[in-house]
Symmetry: D4
């Protein structure tokens, strides 16, 4: 297990991360971590490694793009002084290009996305023990679908930055693709974006596998 005794792991992202987490803290009891994969990861870590005392913080905010992350980076990441940082961003950067195509102010194209994300990682990397980059995803099995193709490209950017800065990369799209061989996308997310309980567990498991979590410990 890559996480060690007493470390603090902070998650930042969009609505897939947020999931009604308590604001502004993003930690505590009574559903403070929200109802999504962050809560699942916390519950699995505490169930299997209660002796490690890992502290989980959720700083997801609905509707965020990487442009929004940049604005709140100082407050919501740097000042929190996490040991580990996990980022999953990019879904809205792409989605707005497809659901509101005429409102171009709301789109974050791939160059801005890459540049901003790289800048944030570069700035933060020296201050933390490790960074996890979770690719944005689209729960659509057709690889030729226009939005799926775009999301795959954003995912590729994330993968490259992960390699560049020696981050852990979580291939969320691959995790969903595995399941999509057996289940139609609607059973994982009606809008192909916001996961059901099963969808969030898929994300949690993909994350935990990359940090060497051992279910059978």
């Amino acid at each position: 297990m890559k996480l060690q005794q007493g470390q603090k792991l902070l998650f930042i992202g969009d609505s897939v991360t947020d999931c009604e987490r308590v604001k502004p803290e993003g930690e505590g009891l009574f559903g403070a971590l929200g109802k999504g994969y962050v809560s699942n990861i916390d519950a699995l870590l505490q169930s299997v490694y209660p002796e490690l005392g890992i502290r989980i913080v959720n700083k997801g905010v609905n509707g965020n793009t990487v442009r929004d992350l940049e604005k709140r980076w100082k407050t919501d990441v740097l000042k929190q002084q996490p040991d580990w940082l996990s980022i999953m961003i990019g879904i809205n950067d792409v989605w707005r290009q497809y659901d509101t195509p005429f409102i171009k102010d709301w789109h974050v194209y791939i160059d801005e996305y890459e540049e901003t994300l790289r800048k944030l990682i570069k700035e933060t990397s020296p201050h933390v023990k490790g960074i996890v980059l979770m690719a944005p995803f689209y729960i659509e099995s057709n690889e030729q679908d226009a939005m799926r193709r775009a999301m795959d490209q954003y995912g590729l950017v994330v993968k490259q930055i992960a390699e560049e800065f020696n981050c852990i990369f979580v291939d969320t799209q691959a995790a969903f693709n595995d399941i999509l061989r057996n289940l139609y996308s609607s059973s994982l997310a009606w809008d192909r974006v916001h996961p059901t309980a099963t969808g969030h567990m898929i994300l949690a498991r993909a994350f935990l596998r990359e940090i060497n979590f051992d279910w059978n410990k």
Copy 2:
């Protein structure tokens, strides 16, 4: 225009038809017709043909399949004595096979669908001046998508029954396909099923074209 002075046109269907229409009446002022294509059709008819006095009734119910329609057919169709009847059903019959694949009690497979729909049309046909059959649709441009393929088959059943009983057929899928050449599905329906305002107007226009509505009158 196929509708004539003082006729009553009743719409029945699922959530795409319902759209928060007032229950049980399904007619009147103050949004009683709901917020979807039925209200658009009414508004366009009254705007262009106010002298005809066409009476519109909305009997859509969220979540209905053709099996549900059969149960309320006597009350919600026959007792209403409409001159014209419009039916759009089948989306939930198919969708449940894809979003809750393990709950087979909720699926209405194509044989039951065809048999039930034919029975209802046969029984009702002698009592009305005309029937409009609107195909169920799936706002997905990929024709190889599993659910799209299934929906196309249900749509074909509707088309055949329309021919068999000399009904007006509205090819809603074709109407959406036209637009999907320019707009991605997310801008017409986040879940590819429940249309935005634009999606409902596409349905209304497809319907009105088949009854020879003349915008420029």
Copy 3:
């Protein structure tokens, strides 16, 4: 069609324009354009001309008079940099003289109305590709009715300013008059001001006719 590829069309006005549009943006999915004629125009444009990518923004605010428009003109019109601007204002300017006759501070008499509207058009005209002036209206068939007479005079002012600045003029009162020959005012607006779904479609159709929208395209 007078609107061209990628243009932005902004509507400003009072409660007839507002119709629960989302604030402050006035654009986006999920009913962000409100439930009135602006949403209808958007839905009809996207249904028939999806390839043009027209961007619609709704900046109506309940209860506004031309005096209120002036206060928010910089923020809600000029800073938005629309290509086309549509204005429908004046109903409250007149109505307050009739429903709260003793609160004279709330009345905007015709001289102030004309002067303010002309000033706004003059200031904005150089910055946009086109302006549409929609006359204020009163859904009352009796031309001798005191408030109808007043509204007609305000409408005349709008028409004159339209000619003066070469704007497109939409004669909304004439559009309603057409329908009032067949339908009593109560079926279009209980208070003769706030239109039903049919009333809003009448406004949308009157607007679209003036910009050469082609339903049959």
Copy 4:
């Protein structure tokens, strides 16, 4: 004053009478009489004639026509054993012909109106000390307005029945006409039907004058 010590006066009618009265009782403290003319009449009677102990009951129901009154007559009138009965009905009977002209099931035409009202009065007359018939009204000053003309005819029916059965007749339309010489209809009722506080006071005063109420007592 025509009302005497300890008598019970029951009002029945539609939404103009109802005004959020408590159901089913229609009497008691804490706004049980609603917020309209019935409450005004009660307040004025208790203020000026507290020694008489007049008991007021409000049995108005929103949306009622004379057809609806007939259905609940036994329960809401006869079983209540009032000494005096006041009826104001007919607005919806007429209005539905104008605001939802195509839903003819909802219309109560003048023959049915007259026949039903006469039957009810005839049946009740022997059991009460007095009946007050308040004409239905339409707060529209133009006598040539289609709905005003219709309402005047229904009012005439009421007046004739009042004479026939020796009831007290309250000419509510005349009371409003008096005020409409000075105030525009919108200041008394936005939809020309549901009165403002002033409109309800006009009704109360018209009623009280006919029963010889003395403000200066």
Copy 5:
């Protein structure tokens, strides 16, 4: 009638005046004047003297004492520039001495009451055409009751100031005493302070009598 064409009459006071009036304006349609005696006075004035165009404004605020009135006097009275001003204050000044006797900070004793009220009248008198002083009241028939005795003394202060500055004095306590000979206090106000609909009509009538309102005009 003492009020003349086009004059503005402003009411200020505590919860008996407030009665859910709209804030901050205190005037307009749709119950903006609240549900108490102010609304009754407005309705009676418009019903009988519609030609005068009297403008009524309600600036009552729940829980106010004369100490609170002083704080908002500039904004809520002087800046409003009324022609006539009506003040009813003092109930809370007394009541807090009886319902929360140990919280002495909340009490306004008679010397402070008199001094403050006199100061406000003196300051305002030159700027208005007339002032109406309505005595505070306590709907308790036992003159020896401790709180009733206190309220009578505050009422006496009001009467003296009225004489001193030539204001119209409305003896609200006397008006209630009249009715209390026939009705027990509970039927006019459960807590002997907040009037029922009847209680508010008694206040309205007492006020209107002093300004020579003529019901039979």
Copy 6:
């Protein structure tokens, strides 16, 4: 202490007893006993005599008169098989005569009150170990007040029945009178009926004194 190990004590009455108790059970945790004197008695008994395991049940219902108690006596008293029964009823029987004097159907006059109460006690007495009769009260210090005089008479009836059937009598009026020498009625109950927290503690203490509760145990 008159209550013994494991006994069940049931309270029945009106809104003073009810105080938002949970329905229908009237016992359990989380405020199930309501917020009034019943909850206070339970809390004091459990605090001082936890070893006795006294079970308290609250069957108060808002607005009840003795006529209402009779209707639900079988279900809410006899079937519950309490060891001890406490009854406080009569406030509404009297109050309705004073707050809604013209609605005589709602009044329960003293003969009916006495007869009904006696019948209930007679019927129940053989089945329980003891009955506590709490007098109805009116928190008004003036003994000449009309409603206080009436309540005192009802209280006298209760006292006589208590003697007749050898019940414990709790003189609630006397308990309040004690306090009224120092505190004005408004500080114990704004409407002189529904007690504040202090008022309920006065009732609890009066009750407990009669059953020989020992605070200092």
Copy 7:
């Protein structure tokens, strides 16, 4: 993995099972399975074994004891025809003896508990492929705590019945005990009964281990 292709697994129990599941169905999308261990089990099964198509149904009901299960057994278990059945009951049977000790009607003592549970298992066993018995638990580390001792005895009964009928036994208390060595009870359940997200994951993992679920598959 003991569950096989297409099988239906039904959970029944109390509030720990219920967790706001949708009623009456207890299955479907959108949180229909509630927010507790049942949802976790479903999410983990679908994430790891999507090809098996296991159907999960949640029939937990807040506050239930084994006495309540018996009443709804026919409807909620037998008629559902599950392949596998999981039961966790007994917490309320014990808890009521400790939190409301005087209300003995609410207690289910160990003999009744054992007898009822055995009867249900005996009756159901022939109709299903397998039964899982999850012991009731109390998240308290002190084995000498009175309620913990009682719960352990109920758990022993469950274990014995499991052996008797060859059911799978899930030792939930042991699973919590493991964690309680590192975490204090408050961090798993404020009231030592209703688990946090972590507590539910501990239950899910304990269950899944007994059916040979393989996280690393």
Copy 8:
């Protein structure tokens, strides 16, 4: 009785003190003192010593630790100028160490607790007539329980400071221990912290005994 005529007694603390008291005042009628022991103390004092006119103020705030008290001490204690001050704090200081053990920022360890509390008492002591220190408590009968052991240590700190500054000490833990011999903790507080009505009465009685309150006066 240690409290004397006209004195003001202020309570400060956490959620056990707060109990939905009105903010910011913390005094007045209508439940302004909350639903806990503060309200009980007030009710008992007014019931037995109404002639003393003791003024009670509640300044409890949910979730507070001694660190939070320090921040609002000036406003909520010193500026209020109480004669007597009662403090009960420390539960959250301890609890956070047990329910959210990994969020160390939220813990207030015993040294900081002692130092801060001593500083506040030292600073305030000269300005008041008396201070009551109520120990924090944990309604758990097992003295070896980890959190109970910690709470006992914090309680010891409070006792020592009380002796040091000559304050009245209320041993709340001892009061609960007395009851725990007969009742299990769940019947006094489901989470062993927030008392039921009985739990609050135990606190009130423990407090009142220390100030020589005489129930039988």
